[in-house]
């Protein structure tokens, strides 16, 4: 009995507590990311943005959430009910499980697995299922077109992301995320691998279906794409999943290229700030870039999107993998 408590129940409780400690701030961050998006867009377009609910409109996300909860969940009569309901759940769950391997500070990580970066890549490549299932189960034209676009887009840009990850791995010699951050102690990878950093950021935009690659939900052509038929909480789960994925891709950018929890220079005024704060600041910076891009660029045409993915990013990232490997071997810089 005592061994059951010591061996299974107590560690289980600790893990549950850790999961809650990650997920609650994450959901808060998602809620306030929607607020930040509206405020940043408003500032860039010389408007005020949400400013009515609470001081500076700070309670706006809560009001939006409550409003969504009160709406009726509509199940279209032509829809495939099980797949229709499972799709938003899948999107939401996948956007949360990836956080299990994200290190917030040295040693502060829920599951410090050997193949952390592959796990992240696997989970982000599964994100397409929520969208394609939603589009098919809705049994409606606009969602289906949006889902097909999204599937093609996400599969195309995953290839480029894979090559970027391989380049970083060549410089690190480990698939563990903590090891990847520790390898950046001398210099962040965004300096020696600047082209790959740019490719990764643009591919992250495409992978999360954000502007200027938000073709799956192009309002002007597809009404709202794959989530036209969704309402109330089912829609809210898609929305939360999408924004959680944005934060996840920003966290991946911070871990792979911006040194994770490390300060820019390892000297006192910078080292006084704790690691998780540095990490949060870097994630927030990348998220701001996401919003900035949305406010600045017009949407890509579909054939241009495919051309960029297959004819520009894929050959270039492949070339850069070879160049990086060649340089590492030629100068004997390969990680031991």
């Amino acid at each position: 009995m005592a061994s059951l408590w010591q061996g299974y129940l107590w560690p289980g409780l600790i893990i549950v507590a850790q999961i809650v400690a990650i997920i609650l701030p994450l959901l808060g961050a998602v809620a306030y990311l929607t607020y930040a998006e509206r405020k940043v867009l408003a500032a860039m377009q010389l408007r005020k943005g949400p400013n009515v609910v609470g001081p500076f409109g700070l309670l706006q996300p809560l009001a939006d959430g409550l409003k969504l909860l009160n709406k009726e969940t509509i199940l279209p009569s032509g829809a495939n009910p099980i797949v229709f309901v499972a799709a938003p759940m899948l999107t939401f769950v996948l956007s949360l499980v990836a956080w299990a391997v994200i290190p917030f500070d040295a040693g502060v990580v829920l599951a410090d697995i050997n193949v952390g970066i592959l796990y992240l890549f696997a989970i982000s490549s599964l994100g397409v299922y929520g969208i394609i299932m939603a589009g098919w189960a809705s049994n409606s034209k606009y969602p289906f077109l949006g889902a097909l676009r999204s599937a093609a887009q996400m599969v195309s840009y995953e290839v480029a992301i894979g090559f970027v990850i391989i380049t970083v791995l060549l410089c690190v010699g480990s698939l563990n995320l903590s090891a990847i951050v520790k390898a950046q102690e001398t210099v962040w990878f965004c300096v020696p691998l600047l082209p790959m950093f740019v490719i990764f950021f643009i591919s992250a935009l495409a992978e999360t279906n954000r502007a200027p690659f938000d073709l799956p939900e192009a309002e002007a052509e597809l009404v709202a794409g794959y989530n036209v038929e969704y309402s109330s909480m089912t829609f809210a789960l898609f929305f939360l999943g999408e924004y959680a994925n944005m934060i996840l891709m920003s966290a991946m950018t911070a871990l792979l290229f911006l040194g994770g929890w490390l300060p820019p220079i390892g000297i006192p005024p910078f080292t006084w700030i704790p690691g998780p704060l540095w990490f949060a600041a870097k994630v927030a910076f990348v998220l701001f870039l996401f919003l900035w891009v949305r406010a600045t660029f017009p949407r890509y045409r579909y054939d241009q999107l495919m051309r960029l993915g297959w004819k520009v990013f894929l050959p270039f990232s492949l070339l850069w993998v070879v160049v990086t490997a060649g340089v590492l071997v030629a100068f004997d810089w390969t990680p031991k």
Partner: protein, 204 residues
């Protein structure tokens, strides 16, 4: 060990149940979704065996890429289920015969299986202790030393398959206007605009 056993039986049961559903589901899209579930649980079994690299590669390659394209194609197919069921009894004998042949082959294989230790070490790459090296490193050491020619051959097979698929589907149509991004970006004002003086009361 209890937790591992429970996890193993859960993954194993779900894998088999999903695999049965793949062939018995009426809707082909549901079949593909069950196939994905089976892949996923197989990855779970790999993790339980300590083969986390293969588990992740299984999810990335099969679930993340191959099954997406499967689903893509199956969703677009316009299948008439009544027509599909018509030939069922007609094809049952030959299908059953093939199934029995495969089953017998599997039984022969299982009956001659010798549980002897596999070749784990070679002069080129002495096998390190299992806990001294991650299985990504361990795989890399054998894949790029002992089996490098097989690895290259597998790559060549895939390349040939890719070229074959491209050759089969490539067709050039007449009258398609393609965008040439380089030409567009290289166009300058003097190539695009011509300024003419127009006299009052006349046209160009």
């Amino acid at each position: 060990m209890v937790i591992q056993a429970i996890a193993f039986y859960m993954f194993a049961i779900v894998t088999i149940a999903a695999a049965v559903m793949v062939i018995s589901a009426r809707n082909p899209v549901h079949s593909v979704l069950f196939l994905i579930l089976a892949f996923f649980n197989a990855a779970g079994l790999f993790v339980l065996m300590g083969a986390e690299f293969i588990a992740m590669i299984l999810v990335i390659v099969y679930v993340g890429a191959v099954a997406v394209l499967f689903l893509f194609v199956v969703m677009m197919l316009d299948i008439n289920f009544a027509e599909l069921r018509q030939g069922f009894l007609q094809y049952l004998p030959i299908g059953g015969l093939i199934g029995i042949v495969l089953l017998v082959e599997l039984l022969f294989l299982a009956s001659t299986w010798l549980a002897k230790p596999l070749k784990t070490a070679s002069p080129a790459s002495p096998a390190p202790a299992a806990d001294a090296v991650t299985n990504t490193h361990a795989l890399g050491r054998v894949l790029y030393t002992d089996y490098v020619y097989l690895f290259q051959a597998a790559g060549l097979v895939l390349l040939v398959a890719m070229i074959g698929a491209i050759v089969l589907t490539l067709r050039s149509r007449e009258g398609v206007r393609r965008q040439n991004a380089a030409a567009q970006l290289n166009r300058r004002r003097d190539q695009a605009v011509e300024v003419k003086k127009v006299q009052p009361g006349s046209s160009i």
